[in-house]
């Protein structure tokens, strides 16, 4: 077994891991990226649509182009990368076990770890669709991989369940590839993806979006040949008599993403039941000192730009930790979701903040127009920013000024009065 000692191990070479590794290297840490695929880039490799990098590079890029910007820097800075290597275990004492076809098992002692494993798609059973279990039921990400990377079409006529962003993007992609997209069905009474994707991927291609409608059952034994859809009421209960059968040979599921935290759990890191990712502080440090989390493994972001930013914050945190590992008992205050706020990320803020500003990310529960975000501490409410519209699918990033805060008491964030 190969033994290694490294300042900072970044697990995952997608957008969060790439940004984190570059920043860690800049901070002077001996850094190693461990990536399970044969190339860097993570899921961005199969994202051949554009819209990446608007915030960060002020430019519309494809997923591949966005990733390449970072990969070039990784090469320039000669940052160590282990490809085709899968981390199997992490211990709370920051030992890593990884497997590699070329090197066998690796045992790495890390001074700091940045978790950047990303997220995975929810699957059919988790959304409880009844009926048969034929071929032709795939997640949007798997369809994307088949079409964009492997050169295969998994069907001729598709129904999409869920209006998540990948589903919307695949509606357009499949249409361009000659697959008839019958429609997108969304159980909620509002869309689940970004508005720009609804406009550019559905409206521009005349693909109908059926809100308040879900797929109830799947038919046929071997290969799917139809689904039954049904409308739901305000409480998401099926409305009897609204069932319709739709012929299709492909059902694409775009029913949400979940942070991938099998490794975090092995390291006994505390997980937030709402975000389903580790609870982190303003340095992106998890409940285990020296282990940080960045990107979609921590909470599912909607923009890759935010993912990269969280990676950089985590790397600066890791550098601080490696340089002063003895600083135990790091004190934090809690950030609570307030009015119309589903969650705030990070969940904690350090009492000792070095930077003058720092971002917090949040999602609202319900759509609202002309509202401001507020932070509340000990009865005082301070307005953060005014928004023309806030929507649950669109993450809000607010930049807080450290000198605005009283870092001795907990903080609540509201969307609206």
């Amino acid at each position: 077994m190969i033994e290694k000692k490294v300042d900072c191990v970044v697990i995952g070479g997608g957008p969060a891991g790439l940004a984190a590794a570059i920043e860690a290297d800049k901070q002077g840490l001996d850094t190693l990226i461990i990536e399970r695929d044969v190339t860097l880039g993570g899921i961005l490799q199969q994202c051949i649509h554009d819209g990446f990098g608007l915030d960060r590079f002020k430019k519309r890029m494809t997923g591949g182009q966005y990733a390449q910007r970072f990969i070039d820097v990784i090469k320039e800075r000669k940052i160590n990368v282990l490809l085709n290597t899968m981390v199997l275990d992490i211990t709370p004492s920051k030992e890593i076990y990884a497997s590699s076809p070329d090197e066998g098992m690796l045992h790495i002692n890390a001074k700091s770890i940045i978790l950047a494993m990303g997220c995975r798609e929810r699957t059919r059973s988790q959304v409880l669709i009844y009926g048969d279990r034929p071929a032709g039921v795939l997640t949007a990400g798997a369809v994307q991989r088949y079409i964009n990377m492997e050169g295969y079409l998994p069907g001729k006529k598709a129904v999409i369940l869920g209006s998540g962003d990948i589903g919307l993007i695949m509606a357009r992609r499949m249409t361009l590839e000659g697959i008839k997209v019958e429609g997108v069905y969304e159980i909620m009474h509002r869309q689940n993806g970004l508005t720009r994707n609804v406009v550019q991927c559905l409206k521009d291609y005349n693909i109908p979006l059926h809100l308040g409608t879900t797929v109830k059952s799947i038919h046929d034994k071997k290969r799917i040949h139809s689904v039954t859809v049904v409308e739901v009421d305000k409480n998401l209960k099926e409305i009897p008599g609204t069932e319709r059968d739709i012929d299709c040979d492909l059902l694409v599921l775009s029913v949400g993403l979940i942070p991938e935290n099998e490794l975090s759990e092995k390291a006994q890191i505390e997980i937030d039941p709402v975000t389903k990712g580790p609870i982190v502080d303003s340095d992106m440090m998890t409940s285990i000192p020296g282990i940080f989390a960045a990107g979609n493994v921590a909470t599912v972001f909607d923009l890759v730009d935010y993912v990269s930013q969280s990676g950089e914050i985590a790397a600066r945190g890791a550098a601080k930790y490696v340089k002063h590992p003895k600083e135990e008992n790091i004190e934090t205050i809690d950030v609570h979701p307030g009015n119309n706020v589903a969650f705030v990320f990070p969940q904690k803020i350090r009492k000792k903040m070095e930077s003058e500003t720092f971002p917090i990310f949040m999602r609202v529960k319900n759509e609202a127009c002309n509202v401001a975000t507020y932070l509340e501490q000990g009865g005082n409410k301070i307005k953060i920013k005014k928004h023309l519209i806030v929507k649950p699918p669109e993450m809000i990033r607010e930049i807080l000024k450290t000198n605005q805060l009283d870092l001795s008491s907990d903080l609540t964030i509201h969307a609206g009065e």
């Binding site: 077994m1 076809p101 098992m105 059973s125 279990r133 492997e150 295969y152």
Partner: protein, 575 residues
């Protein structure tokens, strides 16, 4: 006989109403086989009437041909397959032809493989363990539940005891964890007393009634409200698929041939002997035919004109939960007295640590109907949540159904045909068919030896089958060694279950080759985890295509028309 017929009509009137009774005809032949015809409104009536006939004193079997609009005969195109098979001509000759590659067929094949006889197992689907054998939770019942003196009871108690030896010889996971039936009040306790008395009579070892605290000492997750519990320490569980695969691999090592995607379409007979089995793959000459065809065993019996039973689909739905919730899941099976819930499964934990609930028991008209309905899930979840709080719908990662081959006398039918000298019926093997499988194998062996008394044992029969230890269960050092020997062990394909490329390749080229995505999944667990193949699915398709030397377009989920991909997205890239 007249008395039986009167009794029958009285009960049908009471259960289904006078009108229904008027539309049903009954006929009892001299073997005491009851034949039912007519037409009624609902499938439930058909099943109820069948059971009434089955309970008539002395009934050997019930052939229930009552029609209902709910029932549509499945498109089992026997004539077409027969035509194809006869055109292909004779493709083999075997002393023993076993029809069905479920746990029953596999057990019989492995048991008979110790004799100097050529044996073939014919399986219609593309893999073993595809029918009723997958419609259960792997419970090895203790046998308290079966009617004393029934074949079921004898097979179950004996089969249960034989699992210790089976698991040693065949190297599969078997956990003799014991099972409980719990009581919440005096009414429940009365049921427990009945079960206890029957268990004693059935010869269930170690059966006793414990008070709530004693039960909680064994299983701390039993509710504090439980007052008494029936404890049967001999109960256990296995993963049925693993056992069927182990049996079949061991049988193959001992010379048995397995033919998958081979459907029996007709059987030729000549002077009271089955001579040839006609399949879609060709004609197979047979010295003896053993009918272990699961829910289609009645069709097979019909092919030799000896159908004296009808099998109907008592669908069982099972729900698999996330392994993360294992601490909420009882180590031993916990059931309830049948007051608030109809009979059927309850919470348990798989050998791999997933909470596993079910199966439900719902009568459905169609033999092939293994879809999952909201009623199935409700049935399983209500009972599960009652007995195992802390786990709910959010933890579901997978559900599926299978068809139990129930018959109307509610007992196993294992006997030589009274009409055909070399034909053995092994039919109606539903719950507790998995627990009974070892005993059913031996029982069938005895019937065979009676029919063919000069059968000689092989000198070199090997009862041992060794399993390759999964990569995920290896220590870091063992993993390192495996990767050194074969770098493909270093390539993880399924992240959720830590399945390596080397293991998938082994499965594809195994003794019972895995040629589909589902078959790879069952053998290796690739795609069985939380992401349900979202990530590894495309990679498994690619490996299957490469190893089988075909294009990815040819790869199916589970054989036949279940292709994953339909066309290439682009022509070959221009050079």
């Amino acid at each position: 006989m007249e008395q039986a017929i009167n009794e029958f009509y009285n009960q049908v009137k009471r259960t289904c109403g006078d009108e229904v009774a008027e539309h049903v005809q009954i006929e009892i032949d001299k073997r005491n086989v009851v034949k039912l015809t007519g037409e009624v409104h609902t499938w439930q009536d058909v099943v109820d009437i069948g059971h009434i006939a089955g309970r008539l004193s002395g009934t050997k079997g019930v052939v229930n041909s009552i029609k209902t609009p709910e029932f549509q005969k499945m498109p089992n195109d026997y004539p077409a397959a027969e035509k194809t098979g006869r055109e292909k001509g004779i493709i083999g000759k075997y002393d023993i032809v076993i029809i069905g590659g479920g746990i029953t067929g596999a057990s019989i094949a492995r048991t008979l493989s110790k004799y100097n006889k050529s044996i073939v197992v014919l399986e219609k689907k593309n893999d073993v363990c595809e029918g009723a054998s997958k419609a259960n939770n792997g419970m090895i019942h203790s046998g308290y539940d079966s009617k004393t003196g029934s074949l079921k009871q004898r097979m179950c108690v004996k089969g249960n005891a034989m699992y210790t030896q089976w698991s040693k010889e065949l190297d599969f996971k078997f956990n003799r964890c014991g099972s409980f039936v719990v009581a919440f009040d005096e009414e429940d306790e009365e049921y427990l007393n009945q079960f206890y008395e029957r268990g004693k009579a059935n010869g269930v070892p170690g059966i006793e009634i414990l008070d709530g605290d004693e039960a909680r000492k064994i299983e701390p997750l039993i509710s504090p409200e439980v007052t008494k519990a029936l404890w049967t320490p001999s109960a256990g569980y296995i993963e049925t698929y693993e056992v069927v695969l182990a049996l079949m691999e061991n049988a193959i090592d001992n010379g048995v041939k397995l033919m998958t995607e081979t459907e029996v379409a007709a059987i030729d007979t000549e002077s009271q002997k089955a001579t040839q089995v006609i399949t879609n793959k060709g004609v197979i000459q047979a010295g003896c035919v053993i009918n272990a065809a699961g829910i289609y065993a009645d069709d097979i019996a019909e092919m030799v004109d000896d159908r004296f039973y009808t099998l109907h689909n008592r669908r069982g739905t099972l729900v698999l939960m996330d392994r993360k919730k294992r601490s909420f899941s009882p180590k031993c099976f916990v059931g309830t007295a049948p007051k608030n819930f109809t009979k059927g499964g309850g919470p348990m934990t798989t050998p791999d640590g997933n909470p596993f609930w079910g199966p439900s028991a719902i009568e459905v008209a169609n033999k092939e109907d293994v879809g999952v309905s909201p009623q199935d899930i409700q049935f399983v979840m209500e009972k599960g949540k009652h007995l195992s709080p802390g786990i709910n719908e959010k933890d579901i990662i997978r559900f599926f159904s299978g068809a139990r081959p129930a018959n109307y006398i509610e007992d196993f039918i294992i006997e030589p045909s009274e009409k055909i000298d070399n034909f053995i019926h092994v039919a109606g093997i539903q719950s507790p068919g998995v627990a009974s499988a070892p005993a059913v194998g031996e029982y069938t062996e005895q019937i065979y030896l009676n029919l063919f008394p000069n059968t000689k044992r092989k000198e070199n029969w090997n009862p041992i089958r060794k399993k390759q230890k999964p990569f995920r269960e290896c220590t870091q050092e063992e993993r390192d060694q495996l990767i050194k020997e074969d770098p493909k062990y270093g390539h993880i394909i399924c992240r959720c279950e830590t399945v390596t490329e080397a293991e998938i390749i082994r499965a594809i080229h195994g003794k019972v080759p895995a040629t589909t995505v589902d078959a790879v999944k069952r053998r290796t667990r690739a795609g069985m985890g939380r992401c349900q193949a979202g990530f590894c699915g495309p990679r498994v398709v690619e490996i299957l295509a490469r190893e089988l030397g075909v294009d990815s377009l040819e790869i199916t989920k589970n054989g036949g028309d279940s292709r994953i991909l339909v066309s290439k997205s682009r022509k070959e890239p221009e050079k």
